[in-house]
């Protein structure tokens, strides 16, 4: 025991000696997609961005978009915009195409952040919008056109003085359809048109009191075209009409030099109406109907209120508070006489203690209660050795929960692939252990680590075709990422190896796949020109799944995303023209092999077509900023 203590002490002192204090950096993220990367890859919505963001894999299968990190679906990964969740519990099949990126400055992926949230909080995605410029009046205009005939435009106008600052942004985005490989008329991804109005307002009521309000409103129409029905002039198209109103904000009171009291609130309502439209292309006659065999119409109301008090004093920092949230299905408020809603009550505490400049200990706990599934105690723990030094060692153990999909809790079997819903499904429990080293010297920041995620209580089909909480998965990743920044150059390569086990409870098969990312933006001196590249390479990826007690393997072929951009500035950088080339190498369609696993071998039983992106396209973007 003594030996261990002496060893730890020596280790800490050695570390302290070797480390040099550097300028404090707020590097909470592990991976970053900067504004320049978003522009280079011509990312117009979050779903498109998920194909580029390191760690994630995005594809479309039979009209449904699947976004995963290894064994973990996007439904269990919280997405925040300016610190507020965009879809609260994420278990409602939220369409990420409806989250625009035209006002986003950067997207961060955070692994095991020490946050106060109990739900979906082990891995989080944070979007940060542009800060309101401190100018009395300003405007910004962007127009992007692609060779696929997509058109994206946005206008932002803002006013600002000492007390008030506000902005309004309007956007229209149209993305052309992607046609099926085999069909003449049917679309694999439907064309969609989205209108957004985003508002932001900050009122500094008193020197220590700030009111901040933000709202995002979107309306999106999607048209999925069907094939011409053989022998007729008739088609069956599917139209979706999405509307979202999201209002959030906070009232912040600086109670003392180090203490802050903050009241957060959010109201979010969205509806996605899906209609099948039968059309006769000869007579023009058409009728609409709702088809439950495909995607049903959905609509949810979500509310959140949170009160917290935090202290930034040293060496002890803390945050305590309570959070209440509510989710309600506004399309089908009752199904089989059961109210389709639930409430959460969460009390949280997070304490950090820094011993000199050597060790930072953080611990947190959430006492979380859900009116359907009961109470849970969720601890978090982090130790940082030599925080904010050249070399920083960090270990985090993190517990969080995620809800089972809303349909699996409440909806009838035909919306759950024939399985019966179960209102008593337990939340999916996630235990994450994360160890990493970061090195920061001058212009170089290197981050390397290991991440082990175990998930329990994943809904699976049990006896009588009823969903029960019994599935287990594991996910292990080693990663290394780097950022090199000079005046005119930013380069961010990252490499990782993922080990995934989708069936830890039954097959217990682990598969590996590599991932490489390279994002760079280089300003060419004395030319007012800049060059950008975003690229991502995913190796062959195998996924195991179980159907009727038989184990199957799906082998996804490698994916390569490369986008290039050349930008020229005019009028003191107020006006920019960018020429881009997107998805240089990757074809849109992939044919993945499906195997059935036998006792000794695997047998190929077919293939599965997926869509991993739009075809190669050229982009021209014009942007003007008055500041």
């Amino acid at each position: 025991m003594y030996c261990l203590r002496i060893f730890l002490l020596l280790f800490v002192f050695t570390f302290t000696y070797l480390s040099q204090e550097v300028q404090a950096q707020n590097n909470e993220h592990t991976f970053l997609l900067s504004f320049e990367d978003i522009q280079t890859a011509n990312l117009q919505n979050l779903e498109e961005a998920m194909a580029i963001i390191p760690f994630f894999n995005r594809y479309t299968e039979q009209g449904n978009t699947v976004i995963t990190y290894g064994t973990i679906g996007i439904q269990t990964i919280a997405i925040y915009k300016d610190g507020f969740p965009v879809a609260l519990d994420q278990n409602i099949n939220y369409n990420l195409k409806t989250i625009p990126l035209w006002d986003i400055e950067r997207i961060e992926v955070r692994l095991t952040p020490m946050n106060t949230s109990s739900k979906n909080s082990s891995i989080t995605i944070h979007m940060f919008s542009h800060k309101i410029p401190k100018k009395p009046i300003w405007s910004n205009v962007n127009v992007t056109n692609t060779s696929l005939n997509d058109l994206h435009s946005s206008v932002s106008v803002g006013l600002s003085n000492v007390k008030h600052s506000g902005q309004i942004g309007l956007s229209r985005s149209f993305t052309r359809e992607l046609y099926d490989q085999t069909g003449l008329r049917s679309t694999a991804i439907g064309a969609f048109e989205r209108y957004d109005i985003n508002l932001k307002y900050t009122y500094k009521i008193l020197p220590g009191i700030t009111l901040h309000v933000q709202s995002d409103h979107s309306s999106m129409k999607t048209q999925n075209k069907g094939d011409i029905i053989l022998g007729t002039s008739r088609v069956s198209d599917s139209h979706q009409d999405f509307k979202k109103n999201n209002l959030w904000g906070y009232l912040q009171l600086k109670a003392s030099k180090n203490h802050t009291i903050q009241l957060d609130g959010m109201i979010h309502r969205f509806n996605n109406d899906v209609k099948d439209i039968d059309k006769d292309l000869h007579t023009g006659q058409q009728t609409t109907s709702e088809n439950f065999d495909r995607i049903p119409s959905i609509g949810y109301d979500q509310g959140l209120i949170k009160l917290s008090i935090s202290s930034q004093s040293k060496p002890l920092q803390y945050t305590f508070g309570i959070e209440l949230s509510h989710t309600r299905d506004n399309k089908y408020p009752f199904i089989n006489a059961v109210s389709t809603s639930y409430n959460d009550y969460d009390a949280f505490g997070l304490i950090s203690y820094q011993y000199k400049k050597t060790v930072l200990l953080s611990g947190g706990i959430n006492l979380w209660h859900n009116n359907l599934s009961g109470s849970y105690l969720l601890p978090k723990f982090q130790i940082k050795i030599a925080p904010k030094k050249v070399l920083e060692l960090n270990f985090t153990s993190h517990s969080s929960v995620s809800y089972a999909p809303f349909t699996q809790l409440f909806y009838p079997s035909f919306l759950n692939n024939g399985s019966n819903n179960n209102i008593l499904l337990k939340p999916i429990k996630k235990q994450v252990n994360h160890a990493h080293i970061s090195f920061h010297q001058g212009n170089i920041w290197v981050n390397s680590g290991m991440l082990l995620i175990n998930q329990n209580n994943i809904p699976q089909v049990g006896n009588n075709k009823t969903l029960i909480s019994k599935g287990k998965t594991s996910n292990f990743t080693t990663y290394a990422s780097m950022q090199f920044t000079l005046n005119n150059i930013t380069i961010r390569p990252s490499a990782m190896m993922h080990a995934v086990n989708h069936l830890r409870d039954s097959g217990n098969l682990t598969f590996f796949y590599p991932e490489l990312n390279l994002n760079a933006f280089i300003k060419i001196p004395h030319t007012k020109m800049a060059f950008g590249i975003t690229s991502k390479f995913l190796g062959k990826m195998t996924k195991s799944f179980i159907v009727d007690n038989e184990i199957y393997l799906s082998e996804q072929k490698r994916i390569r995303y490369v986008s290039l951009r050349l930008q020229r500035s005019f009028m003191d950088n107020k006006f920019n023209i960018s020429l881009g080339l997107n998805n240089v190498f990757q074809s849109s369609f992939l044919s993945n092999d499906i195997f059935q696993l036998n006792d000794i071998d695997k047998t190929r039983i077919g293939n599965q077509n997926i869509i991993c992106g739009y075809p190669k396209s050229f982009t021209i973007k014009l942007s003007y900023s008055s500041f």
Partner: protein, 332 residues
């Protein structure tokens, strides 16, 4: 300035939903088929309208329903077969003396065509036929003599097998046979005198949607439907449309003109499951006393999500001995 407005207009026009295409009118399909009284069965497939014909093997007396959700035993409606429920369940006690108690009746097909022949006189309208133990007398003429057989349904096994006892009227111990439902065919067929199942009577269900054929039935009960005379003056041969009821549902529209029937009309019609309809497409000309097409009969068939409207376009021939019909099949 006008240049910029022009460019802006072009840009805005680029990013819009494409309007729907225009397609020319699709002609309906015409299908010519003769429906001669040689009693061939004409099987019609709707997706790519075509006819298969097969001279039916008529050497069977009973056919057994193969649909998984249905139990039913029918007699051969192309030959006169009599059937009678003894209302007794002691198979060994029944012999030819029973014929003195009553005259076997002809099988009767109800208008809704959903009733089992044997159940007509008994208690065959049931979900599980285990309670059904009455012995039936089945009689037919095999060109040389009248045959009288006893038949008793014993049981069903594992929800997919008929088990029954049968034999000549004066034999105390009957044969016990089993017929397992074959999902590839609408019915299974059985010959009582040859004690065996009969194969190749009909085409597999995936090859046809409906068939044209003839059926024997009472003239007095179907007087408005054209028929051909038989040796028995009470019985006529009636033109019949039988449906592959495992795949299709039907609606007989007598109000809407064929030209006005389209998908939007058909979508809201109450389709029902039918096994056969007599006399569709045909009518008597009361003045000339000849068979003619019935212009009011528009048959609409729903197959999965597809709808087909069918009518008789032309009818050639004066009687059933030499008749050919041209069907117009419009996919809606």
């Amino acid at each position: 300035m006008s240049k910029y407005i022009h460019i802006s207009f072009i840009l805005l026009c680029l990013g819009c939903f494409r309007p729907d295409e225009y397609l020319p009118k699709i002609d309906s399909q015409k299908l010519n088929t003769s429906i001669e009284l040689s009693q061939a069965n004409y099987y019609i497939q709707l997706d790519y309208p075509s006819t298969l014909n097969r001279n039916p093997n008529l050497k069977w007396q009973l056919k057994f329903e193969n649909s998984s959700h249905e139990w039913g035993i029918y007699t051969n409606s192309a030959t006169p077969i009599k059937i009678w429920n003894t209302q007794l369940n002691r198979y060994d006690k029944i012999d030819s003396n029973i014929l003195n108690q009553g005259i076997p009746k002809y099988d009767r097909i109800l208008p809704n065509a959903m009733q089992s022949a044997i159940g007509q006189w008994g208690d065959f309208s049931f979900l599980t036929p285990e309670s059904f133990k009455d012995v039936y007398i089945i009689s037919w003429n095999d060109d040389t003599s009248n045959q009288y057989y006893k038949f008793q349904l014993l049981d069903v096994l594992i929800d997919k097998t008929y088990r029954f006892k049968y034999g000549p009227l004066n034999e105390k111990e009957g044969e016990i046979s089993e017929i397992t439902k074959d999902p590839n065919f609408l019915y299974s067929y059985f010959n009582l005198s040859e004690k065996k199942s009969i194969s190749f009577v009909e085409y597999p269900i995936n090859l046809w949607d409906f068939q044209l054929h003839y059926q024997i039935d009472s003239i007095s009960k179907n007087s408005k439907i054209p028929y051909s005379l038989t040796q028995n003056r009470d019985l006529g041969l009636f033109p019949m449309v039988s449906f592959n009821h495992q795949k299709v549902t039907v609606y007989l529209d007598t109000l809407t003109a064929f030209e006005d029937i389209n998908y939007f009309h058909a979508k809201n019609l109450p389709f029902y499951e039918a096994k056969h309809i007599r006399g569709v497409f045909f009518d008597w000309d009361p003045i000339l006393n000849l068979i003619r097409k019935n212009p009011k009969h528009q048959l609409i068939i729903k197959k999965e999500d597809n709808y087909f409207a069918i009518r008789a376009l032309t009818l050639e021939g004066k009687d059933f001995d030499n008749l050919s019909i041209e069907l117009e099949i419009k996919k809606l």
